[in-house]
Amino acid sequence: MEIEGRRKFLGVCLAGASVAAAAAAAYPVFRYLSPPSRGPGIEKVAFADTDLAEGEAKFFEYAGATAVLVRTKTGEPVALSAVCTHLGCIVQWVKSSQSFLCPCHAGQFAADGTVLAGPPPKPLPTIPVTVAEGKITVG
């Protein structure tokens, strides 16, 4: 009985030590492989008003992702996230129809980001835009 107890105690000690050793090995590996925190990225982007013609779109990096600035036929610039709300592909601007098309699963968005057709569940998020002194500032 005493031997059984000792055996069980040593088994528990060995299991505990093995778990501790495994954790000590796994933690540095986890930290090594974790993506580095790079901060929020660029949160304000400015363009010259003349850079964007009517009916054209301009893609750029914004807050660590891809965004798009489009000047609709009404002349007002609109900034949107260019990441499709379905599965994360980057939408493409179709000048002829003045709308966005996601090439992955044919999701369609209007120039203001609202869903026109296809599987996207939500509109493209909008980003604030200000126009002053010949400059378009996004963010």
Binding site: P28, V29, R31, Y32, L33, S34, P36
Partner: protein, 367 residues
């Protein structure tokens, strides 16, 4: 525990796990006088596994491009969390693998375990030793430091002494006249692709041969009757009445592995600069040869031999002859006697050889 037993029963019903465990672990009997030196093979398996794991982790961030390699290694060492630990484990591990391999081979030599019918064990082990040196040499270039660059230049250049094909071999190995980006590409492919696969395959073959022939009985401290192999038909050397591999010898393996880890981590944490020289921290400059460039410690004897002999070809031939002699030892030394003290010629040659190798290494270090 009940859940564990249930899962074990479930697997056992399907693949006969208990039968395998009995045959390969608890019923796998080893000589009663087996000693700690026999566990060095298990230590080497652990080291090789660790090299694969740390090597894979380094591959996540390492860039095999002459313009970016040094920067990527600096990034791993200085900026990534625990990158220094992964890199040091890999660099120290490669040195330790060669050191433990030396010990494993020496114990095999002194206990006469290389002798008939174990010629194949020795040959596969010796080939593994040569390939491990090759993987160390190719890995040495990858950080693209001054040390890597110039040590590789010297090491590859020594092949030019081979008559007729020497210069062609050097250029073929380097991918050009000089060590450069194409050498890095070649060495990288060898280091992470071909050589690890070769080593894994040879380890498999080494273990297969070991299992088929059976573990040798140590030449001292035992009473097990020895029945010399007549050589007329295949015979597996079994050890009836011996000790089971599990749990008895597995504990000895575990003890040796723990001692190895104690030494390994002592170097990693308290002597992290041991595998490096100041030239390891300077990016490669093909226009500036640093003073006193030296190879790794296990190549110092070879390096010194090349320096001693007036002709490089003669130096290479002496080394090739010595290596061939050691590789073919089971076919040269055919006496069945395995006790080192009853083999005076072997003992003199072995100790003389080790002392000579040690002296050449020290000489090479200080020359």
């Amino acid at each position: 525990m009940a859940l564990f037993t249930k899962v074990y029963d479930w697997i056992d019903l399907r693949i006969g796990a208990r039968e395998i465990v009995k045959k390969e672990l608890t019923g796998y009997l080893l000589p009663r006088n087996i000693n700690e030196w026999y566990s060095l093979g298990s230590v080497l398996l652990v080291i090789f596994t660790l090299q694969i794991v740390t090597g894979l982790l380094l591959l996540v961030y390492y860039v095999p491009d002459a313009e970016k390699a040094f920067k990527s290694v600096s990034y791993i060492m200085n900026e990534l969390p625990y990158g220094w630990l992964i890199r040091l484990c890999h660099a120290v591990g490669s040195n330790m693998m060669v050191a433990v391999l030396f010990m494993h081979m020496l114990s095999t030599l002194f206990m006469g375990s290389y002798k008939s019918p174990r010629e194949l064990n020795w040959l596969t082990g010796f080939t593994l030793f040569a390939i491990v040196q090759g993987i160390s040499l190719t890995g040495y270039l990858l950080p693209w430091s001054q040390l890597s660059f110039w040590a590789t230049t010297v090491a590859t250049n020594s092949m030019s002494a081979i008559p007729v094909v020497g210069q062609f071999l050097v250029e073929f190995l380097r991918g050009g006249k000089l060590v450069g980006p194409s050498t890095l590409g070649r060495f990288f492919a060898l280091h992470v692709g071909l050589l690890p696969v070769l080593i894994a395959a040879l380890i498999g073959l080494h273990l297969f041969v070991l299992k088929r022939t059976g573990i040798s009985t140590p030449p001292f401290g035992g009473t097990e009757p020895t029945r010399p192999w007549p050589g007329d038909s295949y015979r597996h050397q079994s050890h009836p009445g011996g000790i089971p591999f599990f749990p008895n010898y597995a504990l000895t393996d575990l003890t040796s592995i723990s001692i190895y880890f104690a030494v390994f981590f002592a170097v990693v944490f308290f002597g992290p600069n041991l595998p490096f020289t100041p030239d390891s921290f300077v990016p490669a400059d093909p226009f500036k040869t640093p003073a006193h460039i030296k190879p790794e410690w296990y190549f110092l004897a070879n390096y010194q031999i090349l320096k001693i002999f007036p002709s490089e070809l003669l130096g290479l031939m002496v080394q090739a002859a010595a290596m061939t002699f050691v590789a073919l030892l089971p076919f040269i030394d055919r006496s069945p006697e395995r006790h080192p003290l009853r083999r005076p010629l072997f003992l003199t040659l072995a100790i003389g050889g080790i002392l000579l190798w040690g002296a050449l290494t020290i000489w090479g270090h200080y020359s």
